[in-house]
Each structure stands twice: as C-alpha cells, then as structure tokens.
Amino acid sequence: MSLLEIKNVSKIYGPLKALDGVDLTVENGEWLAIMGPSGSGKSTMMNIIGCMDKPSLGEVILDGADIAKESNKKLTEIRRDKIGLIFQQFHLINYLTALENVMVSQYYHSMPDEKEAMEALSRVGLADRAKHLPSQLSGGEQQRVCIARALINHPEIVLADEPTGNLDEANENIVIDIFKQLHRQGTTLIVVTHDPEVAEVAQRTVVLEHGRLVKEIINENFEE
C-alpha cells in the first residue's frame, strides 16, 4: 500500500479552484518535489498533505486513513505523529533557544528528552549553537534548527515548504545534503519549491499549474 494517495482532490475558495482534480501517489521512502509557479496551488497542496487543511472534494489517504473525513482534533494528532514540517520562514519561537525549539516538538508529541534533542541538533551540525536564541543564529542555522525540529519525532513524512527560499547558495547546499542523508535513512520527503535546482535532486518531480498536475518528471540521474 502506498503511504499517501491523493485521489481526485479539489480545493475551492469561492470562485477560485486552487486544486482541480489532482491525483498523486507517494510511496514509502520516496523523495518527491512539487514544483510550479506562484498561484499554481503548491501551498494548498502542502497544507492538505500536512493535514493543516481539508480538501473540498476527493480523498487524501495517509497511512490508510482518509484525512478529508477526520475531525480537526484527529488531524492535530496525525500531524503530531506522522508529519514533520519545515517552513520557508523557519517559524522558530523567538524566546526559546535552538535546543528548546526542538524540545517543544517533543513536548507536544510525548516527553521532552534533552539528550535526544541534542543529538538531533548535532545531526544537522548545530551542537555548538544549541543554547543560542533564534535571533543569534544565521538564516541557514535557523533552517537547520527547523529541520531538527521536524525530524525529532521520527515522522513518516517530512514536508518542506520552500526550504531554501530564504537561504544563500552555501546554506542551500547544506540543506540539500541533509535531505539526501534523510532519504538514505528511508524518510519519505516531499519538498514544495519553485527552484529547479532543489527539484532536480529529487527522485521524482511533479509540476502544478492552475491547480492541475501537468507534468511528471522521473529523475533518471538520481543517486541513491
């Protein structure tokens, strides 16, 4: 069974169809990039996959359960247990240290464990910045804290929304390297981006335009 199956999903905001009959299947361990210009429905797609929004029509089956039919409370639970979110704007809590920002995620999931959170930070190369506040970190470092936070609860899907949008070349490469590492460890990765360079490194890329999937590219040069 596939990890995620999206069947004929539409999302309608008044007169606007943000998604229009999208079908997509994501297998366990796959690295998928979703591309498209602004206004193509990328964010809506991400919100629906991330259980932060429900489709107007269609089914979204994550790990055997239909998200469209779940209550908001249940969605919160699914989000907590199965999904790790990475944001373009990082969204770190500015009065908590890097370490504490990671621990917040543990806290709402189960029990905060400082040692484990510290390990997650060292995996993204930030062990020595653990006690710093977000305002004392560079953009790349903040994004890595965000990644550590997304990974801490071992989610089934890591969902990244323009993860490199606010980063320079060097930091972009660091982030891509982390993604590669994650992929090797068997994590399912969905990256929403409009940057072809980020999309290129994925196993498969789908292109959204005006709410429809218009193209699918399989990366033949993909390095396992």
Binding site: Q89, F90, N94, P134, S135, G139, N166
Partner: protein, 368 residues
Amino acid sequence: MLVALLAIAVGATILSGLVTIYYDVPRQMGEQFRNYGANMIFTPSGSDKLSTDAINMAESLIDSKELVGSAPYRYENITVYERPLMAAATDFEGAEKTCPYWRIDGEWPSKNGEALVGKETAETLDLRAGDTVTLVYDLEGQTAAAKPKENTERNQNSLEFRVTGVLDTGGNEEKYIFISIADMESLTGKSDIFDMTELSVSASQEQLSDYAEKISAEVDGLSARLVKRVTQSENTVLSKLQALVLLVTVIVLLLTMICVATTMMAVVTERRREVGLRKALGASNKSIIFEFMGEGLLLGAIGGLLGSFFGFVFAQAVSVNVFNSSIQFHWVLIPITILVSVLVTGISCVLPVRSATDVDPALVLKGE
C-alpha cells in the same frame, strides 16, 4: 487600531468625567451642606423688631441663585390649658428649606389653622398628629403663671388649631408650637413684626461675610450675622472634600494616562515590521515618524472627542445619582480633553517609532 482608539477614548472619558465632577463638586456638595440648616440670621439691630420690608430689602442683596431658603420667626408667649408655652410663627415653606433636618411625625402644615407641635410640648400636652389644640394669647401681655387664677375677666384671644405633625429636632424647637404668620397675626392682633430671620445661603464663608457686612450696613434696623457653627464647620469639611476629590482626580488621571501610553506603545511596537518595510522601500526616518505621528494624533483627536462626550455622560450620571441634579457642561473641556489625548498619544507613539526606525530594516523584515 481599534485597541488604541478604545484605550484613548477610555482615558479621555475618565479625564473629562473626573474634571467635570471636580469642578461641580463644591457646588453640589455645598448644596448638601445646606442640610445643616441656616448659616445666616437677621436680627434687629436696635430695640425695634424686624419688619417685612427690612427683611425683603436685605434678602434682595443676596444673589437669588444662592439663596436656598429663608424663614422669618416671631415668638410669642401663649397658654394652652393654662400652661405657659411659646408659640413661634414662621413661613413653613421657608422653614422646610432652611431646616431640612427637622423630622416630623405627621405632615407639614399646609394652610392656616394648622400647627406643628414640638416633641417635648406634644408629650407634655399629650398631643398627636390629628388632635386639636387651642392657643390662648393674653392681649395684656401677661402670662398665666404670673396671673392669679381668680382673675377671670382676662382680655384674651384664642384660636383652635389642628395638629398636623410632631416635630423632633433634638433642640429647643421641641418646646415650641409652630403656627403660620397669618394665624399669629389674627391671634395677637399685631402684624409685620418678626424677631429674627433664618437664611440658608449656598455660598462660601468669605462670601457670606461680605453679604453680612453689606446687609448690616445698608439695611436700617437689621443686622446680619453668620451662624458660625455652620459656616466654619462647612468651610473645614468642604475644603477637605474638595482636596480629596482633587487628589483622587490627579492620581486617577496620572495612572490612566500612563495606561493609555503603555497600550499605545504596545500597539506601535507591534508595527515594527511595517516600519522596517517602509524603510526598505526608501522612506526616511523623518517621514516615518511624521506619518506615525499623524496617525497617532488623528486617533488622539477622535478618542478625545469620544471621551469628552462619554465623560460628560458619566459625570451627568454621577450627578443625577448622587446629588439628584444635573451638571453644567463645560465647553472648554472638549478642547482640553482632545489636547491632552493628542499629547499623550503623540508622546507614547514617538518613543516606539523612534526605536523602530533605529533598527536595520533587514532585521525587522526577517521576522525577529
């Protein structure tokens, strides 16, 4: 923005409400102090009694708005069942105003032929409201006690009165029988003579002294005096009350203005991002401060206007509830309230906007 407007409006309401009350309290409280009764009396300066003309002339020298009430008194010795008693003639309408503390078991007399009996006398004579009593006046000016009983051929006048109420004052009045002036005149056959006049005047002690001096100097045969017990004590207590309201007003205003300022600061600080954006778009610090100030001043003006209205509504409610009278509207308070609101908002805008303009726009926009 609504938050800021609300804060300013509340501050302005408190400002205009309290200041209105502060201005009105001496007047309103002064009226309450009239409950202590007469604070000025007219007595004959020579050996003659007072005449109605002299009393009217003296009263005309007092501002009619300040004159709460006046009651002339005339005392005569009379007898009831051969007991010597004192009858007092007065204008009951005036007495009701000058002696609001009189407690009457029954009703005030409303027409001729009715009398009010002091509590002590009522107990002695066993009189109650509704009973009748006959007052006897000896035209030769001799009292029953002095006159031997055997003399039956006395030149007497007698009148029957219905007792409408028993008077309880805790003072000398409890010994008297009060009747109307017209009744006294028909009982004694002598008119237009009074022993004294009690007046209740709503004015400060200094003003009362001025009145008293002027009246004593200008009206022949009449001297005006202050009832020191009332005027002096009123002066003491009223000045304390006024000081109390003043201090309370000052402290409340101070705290409220700081409260408004902190709220404004919070509202403006929230908009640091906007400041950063404008800077990034090339706005100079000066123009940003200018724009924010403009906005703040407009808010201050609207809030101040709303506040002066609601403040008046509040002051009016207080006045009606506490003093049962309406309050004067001070037009000058509107510009003052608006000015203060504008100043407070202006000052509390300047600080956070200035500190925001000092920050590097890139930092602000990055979300910190």
